[in-house]
């Protein structure tokens, strides 16, 4: 198996360790609006971002379980009240509108604080239950946005970035033992480098097939 083959063999597990199915579908839908597939197969859903988030929250980020559980419930309350439909049942435009309301617009200028839904209502206190849900909804979207980025660009061992689609999209070759003088030279097209993962490096380490370090520190240009 070549390095490239190994990298693109997806971790196909679709089992969940924390979310229930409805929660997972909602998190996946939000993530897909944060990093949508552009028709090239590289988006949060195809990258398996929700599985990264699921494993994170049941493991190292247990402190965020409450944010997800109560935040997703508040989101459903909001969507039912506003659209009479769950978040996953909304159109992409409606879903984006909800993100704008609770996370703010896509572009925020250098000096601006994003104006979000509720900035005025919060003061007036006229919206009852929704006011109470505002802090958790804002927290939820901030957390999902951060988690989606991590799950899109993580090493596939973490459950996200399946098939290394995130790395392929941006031209990041992944986990490398080193780079040669030629590769670091001007005009080198990094997109020609095969993608490698931590699993690939581990396999090479176990097989003792890693190149000698002098391959990389050797400076032929001098």
């Amino acid at each position: 198996m070549t390095v490239h083959d190994a990298a693109t063999a997806p971790d196909s597990s679709v089992a969940l360790t924390f979310f229930n199915d409805a929660e997972a579908r909602t998190v996946e839908a939000i993530s897909e609006r944060i990093i949508p597939d552009g028709g090239d197969g590289a988006g949060a859903t195809s990258a398996g971002v929700v599985y990264y988030i699921d494993r994170s929250v049941s493991g190292i980020s247990q402190n965020l379980q409450h944010v997800y559980r109560t935040g997703l419930r508040a989101l459903e309350r909001f969507c039912q009240g506003e659209f009479s439909a769950p978040y996953v049942g909304l159109s992409a435009e409606q879903q984006d509108g909800v993100i704008r309301r609770f996370f703010g617009p896509e572009v925020v200028g250098a000096e601006e604080t994003p104006q979000m839904y509720g900035d005025e209502e919060e003061e007036r206190g006229e919206r009852g239950d929704l006011d109470a849900d505002l802090p958790i909804l804002r927290r939820l979207f901030a957390v999902v946005r951060e988690h989606a980025i991590e799950g899109f660009f993580c090493d596939p061992v973490y459950g996200g970035n399946r098939g290394a689609v995130g790395w392929q999209l941006v031209g990041f070759p992944g986990a490398y033992w080193g780079y040669t003088a030629e590769q670091m030279g001007p005009g080198f097209d990094g997109r020609t480098l095969p993608i490698a993962t931590l699993s690939d490096l581990r396999r090479q380490l176990q097989e003792k097939s890693l190149p000698d370090n002098s391959t990389y520190y050797g400076n032929e240009e001098n």
Partner: protein
């Protein structure tokens, strides 16, 4: 290992602690080295190419849960809040804005490895400013003083640092080597670096060329990273997971590989990891320390006695420990806090920069606007700094966190920005320190405690308009360079950054000759307790445009010599390095 009697307890196994402990042990002192983190080995780090583990989750650095630090901008602001920049949406943060890594090696595990000698004028910054700009130039309430030592005092120790620990670079002001002259403002050095500079990232060449066209004087940044095999360590493989990451081949000068093994080989050094010192104990008359108390890995409190104690656990924790132990008779502990603003300037190159390769310090710098040189261009700017190219070592999540304000934060625009621009990212930065004032200091938080019931450290720190002016001036030069480089787009960090931790905090246990106005003497020895040393960047009386670690190392060797009653290293005779000099002249040939 030390049977019953311990000569020296060293607290903190980082940059200075590991060096001092190893120097003392090699000289026959029985040393116990305590650290609250793990005793790392390189085997732990063989597969460290993992942005989630080391960057996003900061697995090497302390967390605000276990090592809380509170912050307020001024002393008028009431209670501090848990350092807000140190907890992103997930409660984790960029390791660049937290205290350094825990465990053997400390901050030298995850640092970028930027190495600088301070220039001669940096040691008399206050006098230089007052003589050149007038006594009123400095802000009201400033607490600047000149250093009690000069560059000449430190030069033998800078030299020792570079050759003992392994620094790569190319000197410009080397005795007997007039052909080396890239940086006209380099302070004199008795010999060149032991290794040639690292291989540049591709966009760094564009930076150097642009600087030359603008009439500036580019030179290669020195790095605590081996560019070729050094003392059994590998040369750098340019893997691109460097700052924030441990080194998988021991090319980076981390003291767990560059110093500690030599101390341990003597049989006189015992490192105890997961030991959290919470108190320095004193004799009844308070004039001496008797040892320390620490919580071991199981949470038991252990008292350890020794003839001497060296605190080497970073400027912040050193101050916190002194204050928590009541060692602060003159009220100077924790004062004069200084840290760096980075003036980050990011841009997009026309040709791919391949920013995932190499190290951030495989780069070029200019000193045309350092220190007092800046006065010639703008006398309202108090002090300048080098401008340093940062050509590589950028992974995707770090760049997703550093996108320009004009870029979409989510949606198709976010995705497409990363797709189109990630491989073209390049950056430069400078480091300007805040002028210390009566309102930049650390003390014990009156209410916040850590999980062991110990008082948290509270920082009081804001950026003054004079500090912002330094950042802004250097940004104007960076814009000129960016234009000359032909960057297609660029964006800048604010002159008033929201962080107040840069992993370069210094000044909190100032060294000086007057026991009334300083905490330690020039050797790091406490004025208050005669057998206590408090070492590291906390000793710095002023701070400038340079990374602190090479100076911290030089001072650590000086402290070790003082404890051992040794004199400074003798100058290295020219003939003893002729062979090397010849070899490196060959290597450097263009």
């Amino acid at each position: 290992m030390p049977a019953s009697k311990i000569d020296v307890i060293v607290v903190g196994a980082g940059a200075s602690g590991a060096v001092i402990a190893s120097e003392l042990a090699q000289a026959g002192q029985k040393v116990v080295l305590l650290d609250k983190g793990p005793k790392h080995t390189t085997e732990d780090f063989r597969l460290k190419q993992d942005e989630i583990r080391y960057y996003a989750r900061g697995s090497l650095v302390p967390s605000m849960d276990t090592d809380p630090i509170t912050w307020r901008e001024t002393s008028q602001d009431g209670d501090g809040e848990l350092a807000p920049w140190a907890a992103g949406p997930l409660g984790t943060a960029n390791p660049l804005h937290l205290p350094p890594s825990l465990g053997a090696g400390g901050g030298t595990i995850h640092w970028g490895g930027a190495c600088w000698r301070f220039r001669e004028t940096e040691f008399r910054m206050k006098s230089e400013i007052e003589e050149r700009l007038g006594k009123d130039a400095l802000p009201e309430g400033h607490t600047l003083v000149d250093w009690p030592i000069s560059y000449a005092d430190l030069e033998p120790y800078y030299d020792k640092t570079e050759w003992e620990l392994g620094i790569s670079g190319r000197g410009s002001n080397v005795a007997g080597r007039p052909e080396l002259n890239e940086n006209p403002w380099e302070a004199p050095r008795q010999r060149d670096y032991p290794m040639p500079p690292l291989r540049q990232g591709t966009a760094d060449i564009e930076f150097a060329d642009a600087c030359t066209r603008l009439g500036y004087h580019p030179f290669r940044t020195a790095a605590a990273i081996a560019s070729e095999p050094f003392k059994g360590r590998s040369g750098c493989t340019y893997c691109g997971f460097c700052h924030g990451y441990p080194c998988h081949v021991d090319a980076k000068t981390s003291t767990h590989v560059a110093a500690l093994p030599y101390g341990e080989a003597s049989g006189n050094l015992e490192m105890r990891d997961y030991c959290r010192v919470h108190k320095v104990n004193r004799s009844n008359d308070g004039k001496r320390v008797t040892g320390v108390s620490y919580y071991d890995a199981d949470g038991r409190s252990v008292d350890l006695e020794a003839d001497r104690v060296v605190l080497a656990c970073y400027a912040l924790e050193n101050a916190r420990l002194l204050l928590a132990s009541g060692i602060n008779a003159n009220g100077q502990v924790g004062k004069h806090l200084m840290t760096h603003a980075f003036g980050f300037f990011m841009g997009l190159t026309k040709e791919p920069s391949n920013p995932y390769m190499g190290t951030l310090v495989a780069s070029t710098s200019i000193e045309d606007f350092s220190g007092e040189l800046v006065h010639e261009y703008d006398p309202t700017v108090l002090w300048g700094a080098p401008i340093i190219s940062w050509p590589g070592d950028y992974q995707p999540i770090e760049i997703a966190h550093a996108m320009p304000p004009s870029a979409p934060r989510w949606g198709a625009g976010f995705r497409d920005w990363m797709r189109d621009n990630y491989a073209h990212v390049w950056s430069m930065y400078s480091q300007t320190a805040n002028i210390p004032t009566n309102d930049t200091y650390v003390d014990l938080d009156p209410t916040k405690k850590d999980p062991w019931g110990q008082p948290a450290l509270r920082m009081t720190h804001g950026w003054g308009e004079w500090d912002q002016k330094m950042v802004e001036f250097l940004l104007t030069i960076k814009r000129r360079i960016a234009q000359e480089m032909g960057l297609t787009y660029w964006w800048e960090e604010t002159t008033k950054p929201d962080y107040h931790l840069s992993t370069h905090e210094v000044g909190t246990h100032r060294m000086g000759e007057d026991p009334a106005t300083s905490v330690v003497d020039v050797h790091g020895r406490s004025h208050e307790c005669e057998n206590l040393y408090v070492v590291g960047g906390g000793q710095f009386p002023t701070y400038h445009g340079y990374n602190p670690t090479e100076t911290i190392w030089a001072m650590a060797y000086m402290t070790a010599d003082n404890i051992l009653g040794r004199s400074a290293p003798a100058p290295v005779a020219a003939h003893s390095h002729d062979g090397h000099a010849h070899a490196s002249a060959h290597t450097h040939a263009h």
